[in-house]
Symmetry: C2
Subunit: 381 residues, 2 copies
């Protein structure tokens, strides 16, 4: 929707700000990185869940299709014309009927699985419904979550189990979520290489066994940025790079000035003896994510910025209740502590963009410190 241009001083709090210029810079940076390697992006919409952000993404280029983490996302983007959808969470049998229905309505939706057990379930339901589910095999390249070892015999057994009515093997996918725990940019670069080479290895073994493998899908924001080759890869999935966040900054993936979202909040009081400033952004606004807890700088529930988006004297949101936040100086702070008066507004940068954005139903889109638009976002399952 279009809105009257407003100063941030006039907005109710808490609300979720999205700086469009920063967003566009982030999208361009990733598009250039992936296009530069001759690749194409299948952006993960779970971070933004916004048709408007998706339009910006497509404008930035090097994009084909979307990745979703819920069928609600699939429905939301399908209703807006998106057809090429990868549902990148191991399939649960109770979701197959809705997927078949999306297919009947024209969606080209791909699912993923990593076990013979699940292949049997999917094929059985596909046969019952008279549809063929296009399936990618999830490969485990870093031991962090789901997937099957691309070097294992089990991979070939699983591919064989997919050669049944109701199922069509479309390729392989992997998510190098382990990159979130890398200690250095060099380690992320190595992880990117490991992710790519193991995905390509798995695809090669399947092809040797006679399975046509069209899709080799890899990705995570850190490995996408630090990949030096996409040889053998057909698409890269990433989501959080659209907004970036403090966790990504802590990993060396971005600077703090590349974080596109923040929560606008009002000062509601003080406990001066303790050095606390209280605000109306608690965990309901920021989420309970504490992703920087294990990083070199722990930002609590977020980094406090002024209205121009500049970090404010080492202040962090050290504590959060449902609708209360407690601001104090972070362990990394130096120099004078700035004084905030009741009624003053601050912006709070999130640990984890996906989690914080999910707490809100729309983005207050800003440019040069003014509200210029309001963009809705989807939610639920």
């Amino acid at each position: 929707m279009s809105v009257t241009r407003q100063s941030l001083h006039d907005l109710n709090t808490p609300c979720l700000l999205l700086d469009r210029a920063v967003l566009r810079r982030n999208l361009r940076r990733m598009a250039e990185q992936i296009a530069g390697l001759g690749g194409v992006l299948r952006p993960h919409v779970k971070t933004h869940k916004s048709l408007d952000v998706q339009a910006e993404l497509e404008q930035a280029g090097a994009v084909s299709g979307i990745t979703v983490s819920t069928l609600a996302e699939a429905e939301y983007f399908f209703a807006a014309g998106q057809r090429d959808i990868l549902y990148a969470v191991g399939i649960a049998p109770n979701k197959l009927d809705q997927i078949a229905d999306l297919m009947a309505r024209g969606a080209d939706i791909k699912i993923i699985l990593d076990s013979v057990e699940m292949a049997v379930c999917v094929a059985a339901r596909g046969a019952e419904l008279g549809v063929t589910f296009t399936t990618l095999i999830e490969l485990d390249v870093d031991g962090h979550r789901a997937g099957i070892d691309p070097r294992s015999d089990a991979l070939l057994e699983l591919a064989q189990a997919c050669q049944v009515p109701g199922l069509a093997l479309g390729g392989v996918m992997t998510h190098a979520g382990g990159s979130y725990n890398c200690a250095s940019v060099e380690a992320i670069r190595e992880m990117a290489d490991q992710e790519r080479s193991l995905a390509v290895l798995g695809a090669g073994r399947l092809r040797e066994a006679g399975h046509p493998i069209d899709i080799v899908s890899i990705g995570s924001t850190p490995t996408a940025f630090f990949a030096t080759s996409l040889e053998g890869v057909t698409e890269v999935r990433a989501g959080v790079y659209t907004f970036q966040d403090l966790v990504m900054a802590g990993l060396g993936v971005c600077g703090h000035d590349e974080i596109a979202i923040s929560v606008l909040s009002s000062v509601i009081g003080h406990q001066r003896a303790k050095g606390w400033t209280l605000t109306d952004a608690g965990w309901m606004a920021m989420s309970r994510d504490r992703g920087t807890e294990g990083q070199a700088v722990d930002f609590g529930y977020g980094e406090v910025w002024d209205l121009q988006g500049q970090p404010l004297g080492g202040l962090i949101l050290r504590g959060a209740n449902q609708e209360h936040g407690v601001i104090s100086r972070g362990a990394h702070a130096s120099g004078e502590a700035p004084e905030l008066a009741v009624g003053d507004k601050v912006r709070i940068a999130p640990n984890h963009a996906c989690a914080t954005a999910a707490q809100f139903d729309h983005y207050m889109v800003i440019e040069d410190g003014y509200l210029i638009d309001q963009w809705p976002r989807g939610r639920g399952w």
Copy 2:
């Protein structure tokens, strides 16, 4: 809305279950506790944000008015006929116009503050708008968050600062959130006594100074349950007791069989070598709340139950990504680990009811293991 009676096996996952029989038992227990002490409840709707739960609450008795943590809650319940509303977060100046508007539409809304600075802001806006904001002074009884020391000179100065056009001093309120960190039921009992006695002390000092104090509002779920006297108190606020959760169970406030909400989830795979079972309930469903982390038993992101609501072999949701959960045995587990097959459904009890419920837009209301109703809930600011 009314729904067809369905087995839990037929529901899509993840979804939020609310066991109505457990809810009713919880509401009755608190109503009896407070009524038994001659008190009355002003329930905090921030936990449930549901008109249907509120109707159950009123049915259980001993209830007068509501407490809200956002103006969105105030609007939601006001639209359904609720008039007597306490907005129990220190006021931010940018919320005063909406509060004045609610008052003009017939709401009896009370705000809170704890500083002369804020009293000056509120009075100025009240005078400009030609309205009188009824204000409670927030007292700090446990050092955990906001509020002014009830024994301080500053309390009397603040009350004096409220004697201006645009402001009317209606009483005092306190929230003993420190009770969430009590190490024993005995410590909660002491905290309840401390909360009550300091609130009454503050009210008494204000009355002696000539201020009529009608409202003495205290509360938190732990202190409400373990209070042995409400002498001098006019109302008790509590919210989480409606649903209870693992944090409350860890404090000794309730049993696990008193937890009324849980997230229904499907098994989507395994990493057997690691003892992991993967599910489709991640932090988007459970929230990022890790409230049991510092308690005697750490349940990760939740305790895994079978469909009947019985804890399942010491299984917990040890890890969570956005739409993936990792189930494994908790440190407290003993005996054989139950085997879960892909497609099996489990229920996951939350660390923190307020945070988990907020991830969903409606409750799937169950009784005797069957879906009997679907109740919407409010959200946002």
